[in-house]
Subunit: 115 residues, 2 copies
């Protein structure tokens, strides 16, 4: 789970991070912005430990459990105040809107003095 | 996605197959029994192709798409008529109940004739 795969897409008005998180619910997942421009996505997948003690026997155990974390440095044009995240069918989608582009600087006219 | 991980657990009364399928909905997944005792689980994850044509640009593309299949030979004590499958949070659970154990054969008494 430490290496859970991520797609990152750029739209005209946003960046979108799509992360596979099968079996995790919203409250198992943490999305944070740290150091002003680092998006930190972390979570933990646990086995059902109560069950482990019971009469169950694992014949095959390929699914990884434990903590995982992915970090991404965000571009300068991100609106950090408007980040949203949603989880559906085991896939987390984090949307980071872009800030509007800075207004183009108007050409500055220098007065030409008559010599 | 071809190598989607699977756990297989044995309970006193059933076998349970747990398969990570992030982003797939129930109707993207097929669960079949073939050759009398082979459990075949298959599906396909697609990218949003309409979107591909638009104004989106992939910055990172780690999530695998495409078809996948996993096959498991079922033990002889499976009740193939009672298999059930459910998908939640991108995880498919297939439950295969066991048949009741055959009744122990009663000891056969051989009459001892008086010679």
């Amino acid at each position: 789970m430490a290496s859970t795969p991520v797609d990152v897409k750029e739209y005209p008005n946003s960046y979108v991070f799509i992360i596979d998180m099968p079996g995790l619910k919203s409250n198992d997942i943490k999305v944070q912005v740290e150091d002003e421009n680092v998006l930190n996505i972390s979570g933990e997948r646990k086995r059902n430990e109560k069950e482990e003690e019971g009469e169950v026997k694992y014949i095959r155990m390929e699914r990884r459990v434990g903590k995982f974390m992915r970090k991404f440095t965000l571009p300068a044009d991100c609106n950090l105040e408007a980040i949203s995240a949603a989880c559906q069918d085991g896939v987390l989608t984090v949307t980071v809107p872009k800030l509007p582009p800075p207004e183009p600087k108007k050409p500055k006219t220098i007065e030409v003095k008559i010599g």
